[in-house]
């Protein structure tokens, strides 16, 4: 396998019309060796974007540049991009070995050269023992490894992954997710990875683009998208829970305040007038007594719902309005939080995102 850095990709003003899918004015610039995640709801045209990058659809307008070279009109077989679909799309009439060798054979490599590369990729992905099997006999995780091997063995300049983990069960998904991270580091690949799963995007992506209705609505590092969603859609999509709308007005000490129900929330912002605010559940501290802390916002409320999700519990507190905080199961027991109990919540003014 090549260990050099992958290619640099630039997309300029790309528009695609394909049946019910429409992409509009997509601009992206992906650096060499970057792991770039495109995040968006299912059926939002993310696959069409990947396929257009691979040359499988003709764009209506716009240009695609690979290492500065315009490839907008190049057929897919000349682009040197590896493609992996969500449901693997292995050739059902070929063995695992023949699946992986497919691209090598087309390149006219000699028998020994093919065998050498197969052995190498077999080791890399730990699938050497599956080579003689038909794809239909493999588990989902094994099939996805084979699909990855098939794409990687031809040393692509760019690896395109179309929801590669979403058809797998949680355990396999997690393992393959780690594997993708490792492959990317070891091979120095440029990766464009499409997903609807925010956690996957955070775990893997150097940067991510959020797509909505055929447009890119935000691009940035995961932390930034997570903390400062550009639109309400992004906020809801990445799982921000406490979203409120109101009219900002100046408060004391240089803060602004947003009146909400019975209380006023202090925020730090340059904005004025009507605005959205959001607070991430993990920024909200829940206690049985008023906290002495630097948190500017502290309110008394009543627990109206406790929803346990695995190791965590989401606590909804009606002040009003209703804020949702998250605690570990351990805290849940220590604080003996139950519906109807009176509690205090607190969060810092700087933890409030205004948009």
């Amino acid at each position: 396998m090549r260990r050099a850095l992958g290619s640099r990709l630039e997309i300029r003003g790309l528009s695609v019309d394909l049946g019910e899918f429409h992409l509009r004015g997509i601009d992206l610039s992906i650096a060499s060796g970057e792991y770039f995640v495109i995040l968006g709801p299912t059926g939002g045209g993310k696959t069409v974007l990947l396929e257009t990058i691979a040359g499988l659809h003709r764009p209506r307008a716009g240009r695609i540049l690979l290492d500065g070279e315009d490839i907008t009109a190049a057929p897919p077989e000349r682009r040197g991009m590896g493609f992996v679909y969500q449901d693997y799309a292995l050739f059902p009439h070929l063995s695992v070995r023949e699946n992986i060798a497919f691209g090598l054979r087309l390149r006219g490599l000699s028998r020994p050269a093919v065998a050498e590369r197969l052995a190498e990729v077999g080791d890399l992905l730990a699938i050497g023992h599956l080579f003689h099997r038909p794809p239909s006999s493999l588990s989902g995780g094994e099939q996805q490894r084979v699909a990855l091997a098939r794409a990687l063995v031809v040393e692509p300049r760019l690896l395109l992954l179309d929801e590669p983990l979403s058809a797998l069960d949680p355990e396999t998904r997690e393992r393959l997710q780690r594997e993708l991270g490792r492959l990317r580091r070891e091979l120095g690949l440029t990766v464009v990875h499409v997903t609807h799963d925010f956690e996957e995007a955070v775990a893997l992506g150097d940067r991510l683009a959020v797509m909505h209705a055929g447009r890119v609505v935000q691009v940035g590092p995961p932390e930034e998208v997570f903390r400062r969603p550009a639109t309400e859609f992004v906020a809801r999509f990445v799982g921000v829970r406490n979203i409120f709308e109101g009219r900002l007005r100046p408060g004391d000490d240089g803060y602004q305040v947003l009146p909400l129900g019975a209380v006023e929330v202090a925020v730090v912002t340059e904005l004025s007038g009507r605005a959205h605010i959001s607070v991430r559940p993990e920024e909200i501290i829940i206690s049985r007594e008023p906290l002495r802390s630097s948190a500017r916002n502290a309110f008394r409320g009543r627990v109206v719902e406790v929803s346990e999700r695995g190791a965590l519990a989401y606590i909804t507190v009606r002040v009003p309005p209703e804020f949702t905080g998250v605690v570990t199961r351990r805290s849940l027991e220590e604080l003996a939080l139950r519906e109807g109990e009176e509690v205090w919540i607190a969060f810092k003014a700087s933890a409030v995102h205004v948009f």
Binding site: A54, E77, G82, A89, F91, P92, H93, F102, L106
Partner: protein, 252 residues
């Protein structure tokens, strides 16, 4: 409910199976053997097989590409083309024969043009072939189309990203995956060609294919003379059909 359905369905199955069983079981084997040695019968059967095979090959070369286009692409007039490919099933066989005769007959434009090239259709083997082709091509086209539709187009897309040209992607991925359907379409088409009478008899009475020979014996000498020939033809057709079905099922 299943019992009522089974009884009704059994009526239909028996309606097909009993006459065929009866005609094959009631013929004395010695008479069948004697019929098989009749040179006229031998020639007719071989001619039928060969002509239908030729028609199937012609339809393979043109129909498989057409089926692929119908399965994979949208183009203006697609519905019209689909309709045209279904029409031969609907056109009465004798009328199809007349229509072909008007194109390929000795006095017709195309027939005369091809005649100067030495290709005669009336009362000649090419006439049998085009008659069989006309009435049976729908089977191959629709089976091949179904086969291609069942192949995930993303497999071909993956092949393209791996370096395959459109041709290579077709031959290495789409065609092998649709092959079972194509093969069974070819078998059905070939069998349908064998069975054709109405269109063939209009274009080419002589040389006689088996269904025409059978008709002639029935008309000239009556049922008792036609029976062994009919039995023999049915047996041969059934045997070939079953054998081909088994072969095509064993493939992968």
């Amino acid at each position: 409910m299943r019992i009522a359905f089974a009884l009704l369905g059994a009526l239909l199955v028996l309606f097909v199976a009993v006459p065929l069983l009866w005609i094959t079981l009631s013929a004395p084997p010695a008479l069948l053997w004697q019929t098989l040695l009749d040179e006229e019968v031998q020639d007719a059967i071989l001619l039928t097989f060969a002509a239908s095979l030729a028609a199937t090959v012609l339809a393979f070369v043109t129909g498989v590409p057409l089926a692929y286009l119908l399965a994979r692409t949208d183009f203006p007039g697609k519905h019209l083309v689909e309709g045209i490919m279904d029409v031969p099933v609907v056109v009465p066989h004798t009328a199809a024969g007349i229509a072909l005769l008007m194109m390929f007959g000795r006095r017709a434009l195309l027939g005369r043009a091809l005649g100067t090239l030495g290709l005669r259709f009336v009362s000649a083997v090419p006439g049998i072939v085009i008659a069989m082709l006309f009435v049976s091509l729908s089977f191959l086209v629709s089976a091949a189309r179904e086969g291609f539709e069942a192949v995930d187009p993303r497999l071909e897309r993956i092949a393209r990203t791996l370096g395959a040209s459109p041709w290579t992607a077709f031959w290495r991925v789409a065609f092998p995956l649709a092959w079972r359907n194509i093969l069974s379409g070819m078998i059905l088409m070939w069998a349908r060609g064998l069975s054709e009478f109405g269109a063939v008899v209009i274009l080419t009475y002589h040389p006689m294919v088996a269904p025409v020979l059978l008709y002639e014996r029935f008309e000239s000498f009556g049922l008792d003379y036609a029976r062994p020939v009919a039995t023999l033809i049915i047996l041969i057709c059934l045997a070939t059909f079953v054998a081909l079905r088994l072969v095509s099922r064993r493939e992968r």
